[in-house]
């Protein structure tokens, strides 16, 4: 059975100018221990999906429809009190710019101990030894527990925040741009370590990133998001080798690589749409080279074009990259 099933999730932000259609009809499922990646540009709704899963939404956000089934329970319907027990204990998160999410006036270890004691009935000493264990897991010296955040480097803070996300042995960790602010050498080490820990404890992991190169290396399955929709979802190799949605194809060929032949980067005309008034029909049609009248009139559904390969497009492309 799937660990997490998101069905037709729709979430809008109320603003003075009207509703922002941030997440519209997003559906996907995750198996236990699976690593999936959500990629897309800023404003495509990938972080909003993550925040909706944890119900950490700002006051002006409204979940208008759909369900989030986690271990058979619909998280949308849980009360805030019940949700608190799910958060961190079952689903935890590594936030974007995690280095700024530590409290500067508490010792780092103490902050993690607090998180553990909130959810598990363990003594201070047990919590401490647990933190030390997790410090070792993420490659930090346990002696650093009693230091303050300003005494950590950027990479160390990121490791500490990952240790905090691991602290209650959750079933699912959501990592929102976990290494975006870090230098490549540090990023590489941290991603390798997360992968090892994930495999060891069979944790499910949802990576959210704009960087398709990072996602290619860490995710088993990828969902490509555009303007609040998942436009394509498949296993990582299919998405990279046989992308079918014109947006995915454009995204792939807009990325320079240090490997392989140097090729001309494809340019996508225009800019992502304003989600206050998204385009009619397919949201990608104003920028799509294959758009027809059908695309303007009617929104495509996510359909399976190959085993496990879902595309939301009236004219899915068949080509290998």
């Amino acid at each position: 059975m799937a660990l997490l099933t998101v069905q037709d999730l729709t979430m809008h932000y109320r603003t003075k100018l009207g509703g922002v259609h941030a997440v519209d009809g997003v559906s996907f499922a995750m198996a236990e221990g699976e690593a999936i990646g959500l990629v897309g540009e800023s404003g495509c709704g990938k972080t909003s999906v993550a925040m909706a899963l944890l119900r950490l939404l700002p006051d002006n956000a409204q979940i208008l429809g759909g369900e989030i089934l986690f271990e058979g329970r619909d998280l949308v319907k849980l009360s805030e009190h019940e949700m608190r027990k799910v958060r961190w204990r079952s689903i935890s998160m590594v936030f974007q710019a995690a280095m700024n999410s530590l409290n500067p006036v508490y010792r780092v270890g103490q902050q993690i101990i607090e998180a553990i004691q909130q959810h598990l009935s363990v003594s201070e000493r047990e919590a401490r030894s647990r933190v030390a264990e997790h410090y070792n897991l993420v490659g930090l010296d346990p002696k650093l527990m009693d230091r303050y955040p300003h005494e950590y480097s950027g990479g160390m803070k990121q490791r500490a925040v990952i240790a905090m996300a691991l602290a209650c042995s959750p079933k699912l960790i959501i990592a929102d741009e976990p290494t975006t602010a870090l230098d490549v050498i540090v990023q590489d080490r941290i991603l390798r370590r997360i992968n090892e820990v994930r495999a060891e404890f069979n944790m499910a992991m949802m990576y959210i990133s704009h960087d398709i190169a990072v996602i290619a290396e860490v995710a088993e399955r990828i969902g490509v998001m555009y303007a609040g929709w998942i436009v394509e979802m498949a296993d990582t190799v299919s998405v990279f080798k046989h992308p079918a949605h014109p947006y995915t194809i454009a995204l792939m060929s807009a990325f320079p690589s240090i490997k392989g032949d140097k090729r001309v980067l494809a340019q996508l005309p225009g800019e992502p749409p304003n989600l206050l008034a998204p385009p009619s029909g397919c949201r990608f049609h104003p920028r799509c080279p294959h758009a027809t009248a059908e695309c303007v009139d009617e929104a495509p559904r996510l359909e399976e074009i190959d085993k496990g390969h879902f595309v939301s497009c009236w004219h899915p492309q068949r080509r290998s990259q």
Partner: protein, 333 residues
């Protein structure tokens, strides 16, 4: 290195004073942000400076455009030393030839200036154009950077533009006086992927059309490979490897460059990278010892590297310079 380059940097250094204790009276320590840098940029060339945060690449850019004054060394523009240029007419003449594009288009544009005000500002400062000429020049450059038709953009404010459009405006501001040389500091790193390719192509197109040369500063080796003719890899204020872009990326000789390249994720799930061999973390270059800067992290370093001073850039292959005793010894057999 060639003597007839457009811009030559010779032994350029910048030290920033640091206090070890907050209340100490005398400054005894210095961060060696840029330390004895030498390279030259040819006319019409894109020269890339790559490295991790804190390696001194942005400081180098600021020294070249005279936003900072060097502690030692010189920047020569067309053979003339720019050190004596301080203010007034000579500085204006210098700025007419040398411009800069900044990283963050959300911070580098004045929010109270319209696009026209921003792009016309260099012309106003230079004070060599009539109002009609200014209007024509601004309209022309807006079209050139892809903000067409110019009338629809000229009177907008930055908050009415997207990130990609803002960066186009800051490129237009740098290009409107047709400079010879532009230092571009991470001009695409704040932008989304689908927008980024467009800006990179725009910069390359302007080079072809206007004959401008770039110093392209970036942390992203894949971007540097795409944009640059030659790349200099920096580590703690020193260039450790310098050569043609493809050479440096495909056939790197310095252990730091090799580790850096081994750490760059590849957008191909069927490709399996080997982890780079590199130890520890970057330390701040506060009064560093004379030995090779990379020695504490180097997988190949030995007693010899520890005892002698930082290695000089050595031309191991035509046009490919490396500052590493081990790489030099290896290439000589």
């Amino acid at each position: 290195m060639s003597e007839n380059g457009l811009l030559t940097v010779a032994g350029l250094s910048k030290l920033f004073p640091v206090k070890k204790r907050t209340y100490s009276l005398r400054v005894r320590n210095f961060i060696h942000a840029v330390d004895g840098l030498s390279f030259s940029v040819e006319r019409g060339e894109v020269f890339g400076l790559v490295g991790e945060s804190g390696c001194g690449k942005t400081t180098t850019g600021k020294l070249i455009v005279k936003l900072l004054d060097p502690t030692a060394g010189a920047v020569l523009l067309g053979g003339e030393n720019t050190a004596s240029i301080r203010r007034g007419k000579p500085l204006r003449a210098f700025r007419r030839r040398v411009q800069m594009i900044f990283q963050d288009p959300y911070e580098s544009l004045n929010p109270r200036f319209t696009v026209f005000d921003t792009v016309a500002e260099p012309l106003v400062v230079q004070n060599r154009h009539s109002v009609a000429e200014r209007e024509r020049a601004v309209a022309e450059i807006l079209v050139a950077v892809g903000l067409a038709p110019p009338e629809t953009f000229m009177f907008r404010f930055p908050h009415e533009l997207s990130g990609g459009q803002r960066q186009r405006v800051s490129i237009a501001r740098a290009m409107v006086i047709h400079p010879d040389f532009v230092a571009a500091d991470e001009p695409t790193s704040m932008l989304d992927v689908s927008i980024r390719a467009g800006i990179m192509e725009l910069l390359l197109g302007l080079r072809a059309d206007l004959g401008v040369s770039y110093l392209y500063i970036t942390h992203d080796l894949a971007v540097a490979r795409y944009m640059c003719n030659r790349i200099g890899v920096m580590y703690l204020g020193k260039i450790v490897e310098l050569g043609p872009a493809e050479e440096v990326v495909q056939n790197s000789l310095h252990p730091y460059t090799q580790a850096l390249i081994a750490s760059v994720p590849v957008p191909d799930p069927t490709y399996h990278r080997q982890p780079g061999e590199i130890k520890g973390d970057v330390a701040a270059p506060i009064d560093p010892p004379a030995r090779c800067r990379f020695y504490p992290r180097c997988p190949r370093g030995d007693k010899q590297c520890e005892e002698v001073s930082h290695p000089p850039l050595d031309e191991l292959q035509p046009g490919h310079f490396v500052a590493c005793y081990k790489a030099s010894a290896q290439s000589r057999g």
